[in-house]
Structures are given as C-alpha cells and as structure tokens.
Symmetry: none
Subunit: 200 residues, 4 copies
DNA sequence: AATGAATGAGAGTTCATTCAT
DNA sequence: AATGAATGAACTCTCATTCAT
C-alpha cells in the first residue's frame, strides 16, 4: 500500500472515530459536519471527499452495527428450523441469546446510535428503521417456525416476536448505560427463562 | 361563552391538532413553529399567544399522554400490594393490562410522540425521559412487591420490569402503527400470559 | 370631578409611574408596551387610549424633566444679563448653580432617563437631543453675554459653555448614581469655583 | 499574499467599514447583522465567518478606540507623578492635552461610538462601561497625585476628575460632530486653561 | 488532494401597533 | 372605555453543502 493510500485510510478512520463519538454524544442532528471536521483537524470540505454526505457516514455505522447481528440472527433462524425436540429448541434459544450477546458486545461502542436515532425524524431515523424491519422479520420467522413445529404452544408469532425484540432492546439499553442494577450474564438467562417459562 | 372565548378555544384546538400532527410526522425538532402556524392558518407570532414556546406545546401532549397512565399504574400498584393469593395477583395483572390498554386507547393519537422523542437529544427527549423514569419506577415497585410476597418466583425485579416495559412499548408501537398482523385484544392477553407463564 | 375623570386620572398616573420605572430600569427600547401595561394591570390596547404611542410617554417625561430646567436657565440668563459687576456676576453664577440644583433635585427620579437615552439611536435619542440643543443654546448665550461685558476674560463662549454643560452632566450622573465619593453640596460649590477660578 | 488572503482581508475591512458606519448611524441595537451584510454585499451567514457575533465587531472598535487612549493616559499619569514644580505640572497638563488630542484625532472615525453606546442597555453599553471605568480611574489617580504634591490647590479629586472627563467628553462630541462654532486647536488650550486658571 | 469562504434558508422568539369585540 | 387576539417583520445565529482556489 502506497503512502497515499495509507494516509487516506488513516484519515478515513479518524473521521469515523470522531464522527461516531459525536453522533453518540450529540445525536445525528445535533452534530454538524463542521464539528466532525474540526475534531479530526481537517477542513469542512475535506469531509466530502471521503463521504458523499453526513448521512453516508451514519449508514456506515449502521452497516457495522446491524450487519453482523442480522447475519447471526439469520444463522440462528436456519439452525432453529433444523432443530428437532423442544429440548433442543430450548438449547438453541440459549445459544442464540449468547450469539446475539456476542454481537452486541462487539457492537457495544456503536450500539447507542440505535437508540438515539431509532425514532428521530430525519435521515438517521429512516436508516435505522430499515434495519429494524429486517431484524424483526427474522424474529417473526423464527417464532413462526417454532410454533408450526409445536415446539412452543399456540401463540401469536408476530405479537410475541415484537415483544421479544422490544424486551431485548430495553435490556440492551440498560446494559449500554451500565445500569448498576443489571448483571449482564444473569440478565441474558433471566430473559430467556422469562420468555420460555414465564414469571410464575 | 362569548364569541372571543369560543374563537380562542377553537384556535387553541386547531394549534394543538396541527402541532400534534406535525410533531408526529416530522418530529419535535423537524417541525418548526412556522410550519405549525401556517398549517393552522395563523401568523407565526400568534402561536406565542397560546403557548409560551414550542416546548410548552410538547409538554402539554406529554401531560395528557403520560398523566393518566401514571395515575392508572399507581392505582394498580396499590391494588396489587393488597392482593393475597397468586391467583388474585394473576387476575390483577390482567386487570392492570386492561386498565393500561384503556389509557392507551385514550392516548392513542398522542402515543407515537413517546416513541419519536424518547431518544431525541433536545427538549423533547428531556421531557419524555422524566415521565419514563416515573413509569419504570412504578413497574419495578410492582414487581418487587410481588416477589417479596412470593407471588412470583425468585427473579431479578429490575431486569424483568425493564423487559416488561420494553415489551409493552414495542407492542404499543406496533398497535399504533396499525400493524395488521396484530390483534389488540388478543395481544393484551398474549403478553400477560407470556410474562406469567412463558412461551413454553 | 366625576368618578370617570378621577379613574382616568388615576390610571394615567399609574401608567406614568410604571412607565417611568421601566424606562429607567430597562431603557426605552428594552421596555415593551406589554411590560408597562401588565405592570399597571391593564391591557396592552388600553395603553393606547391614554397615549398615542410609546414615544409620547417618553416625551411627557422629558417635558417634566427638561421643562423647569430650561425655564430656570432662561430666568438665570435674563438676570445675568442684568448683572453689573464681576462680583455680582460671580454671585449669580452661584445662584444659578443652586437654582439648577433645585430643579435637578425635583427631577431626580426622572433624571437618569437623560443619560440612558441621550445617545440612543431610536425615538428616545431624538427627543433628548432636541431638549439638549435648547439647553446648550442658553448656556452659550449666558457666557457670551458675560464675555461681552468683560465680566469674564476673553474666551471661546461655545467651547466653554459646552465644557460646562458636559462637566455638569457628568457630575449629575455621579450624583444620581449615589456615588459615595461625591458630596452634592460641596460638589456644586467646587464646580462653580473650578470654572470661575480654575484648579490652580 | 495569496489571492484568498487578500480577498479575506479586503472583505474584513469592508465589513468593519460598513459595520462602523452603521453602528454610528443607527446605533448598535438599531443595526442588524443583515444591514451590515447587505451593505457589504455578502450573505448574512458570511458575517459570522469573520466575527463570532455582532458584539465581537463592536468590541474590536472599542479596543481600537480606547486602547491607545488608555495607554497614553497611563503614560501621562506616570510622567505627571514625576513632575516637580507647579509650572512643570502645568506644562505636562498641556502635553497630556495634546497627547490625548492626538489619540482622539486617530480615533476620530470611531469616537462617536463612545457616545452612542455609553448609556445603552445591551452588550454595547457593557463594553463601553468597562473601558470608561479604566479611564476614569486613571483621571482620578492623576489628580489625587497632583493634590498630594500641592501642585494644585486643595480640591475634591473625584469631583474635579469627573468634571474634567465630562467636559472633555462633551467637547470631543462637539468636535466629532464638526460643530462649526468650535476651533479644535483653540479648544484644547482653552479647556486646559479653564481648568487650570478658571474663567475669571 | 485539500481547503475554507460563501451561501441562504431556516430556526425560535419578540414587539409596536391595530381593531373587532 | 377597555380588551387582548392578531399581525408580520424584525432580530441573532446555525448549518449542510458547493466550489473556486
């Protein structure tokens, strides 16, 4: 790799690092291109040599955050479809929980973006929304499959899938915020148990 | 009521109606006072005769949306604390579910605000955050009480409370969006059952 | 006087009192008609039943503040023109000083208006400027007369008059502000002496 | 100097020139950024590339106007303290008069700002007030020193200092306004004489 | 490749004044 | 006589993006 490419790469990384930090601390809308550029130590115009616009930088972070999650979920979905017994299914739910926990651990530094921008009105909200549709569709397919195989009782797959995703999101948020009341390892099991066996 | 009061009231309602619609469609930050005013057909300055600033209009919506919810939750919490048997407790969870469903039905036109602004950075995010702290505190107290009374098995009250609130939020959102896959009546029962008995 | 006239008068006084206080504390430009009206406890529109506009209220205060001053100065000017000896002239300067001091004492509560608005850009500045031209013209005429009668040495009447007016303004300001370093009685004499005999 | 620096400098000067003219003619508060920008022929936002806000432009003018004046006064104060005889002191007062006259001649195009904003309520008034405190403190120290050395008769230093500053201000104003009745050269001497020897 | 000057629409908010009630 | 709702231009300041250098 030539000197030029190396410098370009380094600068790209610097922009991404500063951009992420600022998106997280100030929100997508609250963080101007000028802020990012001056944090990196480049001119405003230079930013546009690396990314076509502010939105593209945000999309990049989303790709990195949701991409592996979606891949992992799709893998889990496939394996769950292959599962035989209720016991095996139960095990795989735990496996999936841990696989997802791994993804989340990886994505942790970027994860708060999801929450900050999920409901926002501008471009950021749109981007997040598209990824979430994909994730929820997978969750629904997993549960529908389980129900068809009578691995779980008769239930409304869409309702319960959304409930699971919602619950997961809320817990992830608490974990991200370092909520002291929450022990991550116990919480993963706890939630898997709640959804599998209820609170009774 | 005089002519002026009537007009004032009508205009106030028009502003609220347009303001809500715009807050919902464009988000708090994305919706300027100018947009609201011109949607109502008044001058920008006239808006400020009815509300001291944009934030005040948002707070009004929050009061209407969260106020009855909090009141209902607090009532349910009190009644649950008085419950004796596990069976009675279970019944009261259902009661609470339906009471909340009633609140939500009332608040439905405003409810999406919660989701739009929950994570936002500005004034709107602050206001919603304050209300949510209140709600989650009540949820935790409800569950802690149940656990102490051994009405539910030993569990982590905070984790599970957050999970419940998160699940509820997600389902409410789907319902708000008129998600066709979701039958509101069934969903209420379904969720109560899931949390009480699990999905197994 | 009928009940109506009495009420009208009382209201007029209330407006003036509140208006003066606000002009002084916030400046002419910084004090809205709304502020004055609500300080009095009347509606914004009612203000305009008593005064054609904000400027008119300011003009009223100026009339009261500068009117007696101008009258007193014109009287002093006339008496000084009738003075015979340098000694008599000197006495009359002292008399004038005390006469002016009397006017100022009367006008004290309004006097700060002069300083606040003298240089301001809007309507208030114009009004004050017109009064000051009148005052300075009288000062010049007084000094020119004295010079012609050889009661004072050959000097530039305009320069010295302006100097005297300027010095007086500055001292009045200090006095208004309750400058502790300043003894009003001593100061009056001091200035008269300085201008008559110099500082040597 | 590159083309861009040259242009930037030229524009900066254009902004300052237009800004000063407008501050003088309309007052700080009466002159909007829009007015300045359109006088220069630039967009409103461009103004903010050159100065962080409107106040900063005003502070710049004050620095240029008062800075040399304060420096000159402090120099004169030091020299006066070293003066021996009353005769020498008198000479130095004249010197100081001329030194100040030099400063004022330099500052002439900006000087009227002082008068326009001295009493104003907003940011401009604050800035001017701070500079004036410095100037008056120096004047007091000069006169106190002279009195202690018995170079002038026993007098109230504060009163007389303020009188001198006030007189000077008024004359400067007349000079600025090009008052035809006033001959600048004669006036400087005249005032020095008045304060030193009185008008008798 | 990199710069940063320039744009101009758009934000929230204030206010003197008018006029229908 | 009194009201206060309504206006709409004015204010300062921000920002994503473009483009000549």
């Amino acid at each position: 790799m030539g000197v030029r490419e190396a410098r370009k790469l380094a600068r790209r990384q610097a922009i991404e690092s500063a951009g992420l930090a600022l998106f997280l601390s100030e929100g997508y809308a609250g963080c101007s291109v000028e802020k990012i550029a001056s944090a990196v130590g480049i001119a405003r115009g230079t930013f546009y040599l690396y990314y076509p616009d502010k939105r593209a930088l945000f999309e990049l972070f989303c790709e990195r955050m949701y991409g592996p999650l979606v891949a992992s979920l799709e893998g889990s979905a496939a394996r769950l479809k292959a599962a035989g017994s209720s016991e095996e299914q139960r095990l795989m739910y735990l496996q999936m929980s841990f696989a997802l926990a791994g993804c989340l651990e990886q994505a942790r530094p970027v994860m708060l973006l999801h929450f900050r921008e999920k409901w926002s009105a501008g471009p950021a909200g749109e981007v997040v929304g598209e990824w979430m549709s994909r994730i929820e569709a997978i969750a629904v397919s997993i549960l529908e499959d389980a129900r068809e195989r009578k691995l779980v009782r008769e239930l409304d797959a869409v309702t319960v899938s959304l409930a699971i995703v919602g619950a997961a999101e809320r817990l992830i948020w608490a974990w991200l915020e370092g909520d002291e009341r929450l022990d991550p390892d116990k919480a993963t099991l706890e939630v898997a148990n709640v959804f599998f066996s209820g609170i009774a």
